[in-house]
Symmetry: C2
Subunit: 378 residues, 2 copies
Amino acid sequence: MTNPPFKFQIEARQDRARAGKFFTPHGDLETPVFAPVGTQATVKSLTPDQLAEIGSSLILANTYHLHLRPGDELIKEMGGLHKFMHWSAPILTDSGGFQVFSLAKNRRIDQDGVTFRSHIDGSKQRLDPEKSISIQENLGADIIMAFDECSDPYDKEYVREAMLRTHSWAERCQQAKTRSDQALFGIVQGGISEDLRQESAGYIANLDFPGNAIGGLSVGETKSEMHTILDLVDRVLPEDKPRYLMGVGTPEDLVNGVSRGVDIFDCVLPTRLARHNAAMTRFGARLNIVNAQYARDEQPLDQQCTCYTCQNFSRAYIRHLIISKEMLAATLLSIHNLHTLIDLTHDMRQSILAGQFEDFANHFHQVRAEIEFSKASN
Amino acid sequence: MTNPPFKFQIEARQDRARAGKFFTPHGDLETPVFAPVGTQATVKSLTPDQLAEIGSSLILANTYHLHLRPGDELIKEMGGLHKFMHWSAPILTDSGGFQVFSLAKNRRIDQDGVTFRSHIDGSKQRLDPEKSISIQENLGADIIMAFDECSDPYDKEYVREAMLRTHSWAERCQQAKTRSDQALFGIVQGGISEDLRQESAGYIANLDFPGNAIGGLSVGETKSEMHTILDLVDRVLPEDKPRYLMGVGTPEDLVNGVSRGVDIFDCVLPTRLARHNAAMTRFGARLNIVNAQYARDEQPLDQQCTCYTCQNFSRAYIRHLIISKEMLAATLLSIHNLHTLIDLTHDMRQSILAGQFEDFANHFHQVRAEIEFSKASN
């Protein structure tokens, strides 16, 4: 069932890390890639031009939010999501599942789908595999996701039930799909249970999607549990399809993900931290720029960084903007934080192409360890 | 006392309208010019790059706000306002007077200056001519303003007292000034009283500032009163110095100002309207984009407009951003509103240079009248 336009070409490998190209109707996506999140058809505080200048090549938008507001049919009428938000490069939409299951008490799951109440107006809503695909077809992203159920990773009985529903829903999504210009990705679930992950990865691999996602991680498990699952799934999923690790976005997680065969990442972390006054750095340190120590600090957020913010503004200025409650603070911090992750994935790609990824990853972990050590000794 | 570097060269005149160039240490300012307001060292929601792309050549920053936060001494330490906010073109700072006098019950005026309480922390503060100049020298703008008192235009006795203080303070500002790379402008006061305005314009003209401002307008008087005062002041102020009409910023006021010999304008209106969801148009109409009628409107805010917002986004999208409380709404509307005024002043300049300003102004007033008529007949 793989859709021919969505070929994935692996340009170079080093151990399990890969540099590739995924061909989409809105351009070739170079991997590894980090996708900024534009929940409501906007990456908060940034124009599409600013996003492009940062180096973004893929963005994610949320099916749940856009279905409720402004409505996927309105977006279809306006020419689809690319035109609506003026983003001409690839877009990925999630299935809405993660948001709906996050509603906790305001949703009821059955074998067929989920009934829930809107967080906006409390109205009763229904989402199931067919509806999720229909919404995503109206939105018109290049990569769309199968409707899945993400469960608490430590409740194995529930993890199993959710996984089985996810498998049956994955097939229903394949059948419901009508557009040939969208790549539907399947999602592996199974929590932190190795046997369930093994089963799920095998089941999803067998459905022959043009790409596969690893869901249900970065939801409370330990780093070591995450790595075990990534190692396991990497051995089962087909190598010639892109792998997307959902909702993951610290520098450390990106390097560990790429080391374990992951190609695509997304996360709200960089823009959310920006709105909470925190600057990310290449090796995972975070600066709370509102601290008094930065009041007269002429340095950029990160001296190594080549982003617009770091090339032109001091910590003192950004701190002033935050304290004065100026919107530009979130914009400048978002530019920097997103650039940090996008630049990191770009450098990983280059190092894989140059056959130097092992050195790159070793160096990364070494500097990180030194930073952790120096924090602990202070 | 005119400072030689701050020459004003008039390139063309038509009737009383002028196209000129004012030479500053940060570049030649082409007039007529509209200055966006960056109260706290940022034009709200925009990066300096976006401001430059809109065509901004001069921006205004507020002495009162920056003195209180982050402090003018801190800004001086950080290399001055241009470097601090990353704006390499000309900057104008006001004197702080207007803000202090707006504090109403929280300030006490004497012949020497004003004692007031900070709107941020209630602390007791003092501003007088010498202090205002000292702050403005720390900030380091290209154009700085004499400390003046703006009064209720209908209380003639108070207007007279405030005008006399403004005159004495103007001289004290000239004496206090130490930097030769800043142009100090005098300010004409006198409310809506023709004899007081005559007296004030004569007094200020006589002090031979490199530029002169007209204060105390657009504060509640009628349009006809404003025009009478502008006509009168135009006849008294020296022709070979730039004239700055403070705090004025509707399209209609800009055209009427240029027709009466004004060269420089500033106003918070375009960015304030943007944050209240209103789009300005060339001829003064305003669209409240949150209205339901725009929900599926694929048109740009203004079909004639060439700004980034109008080239790339629909009313439907901007309405969605507003309803979803997304910051990008204010950014896109600010870009459009500022571009509308800057483009208008640019077109006025071109029409003066081409000897066609009379036609330009007539056409402008005719279209405006048609819009008003069509609104009234609806």
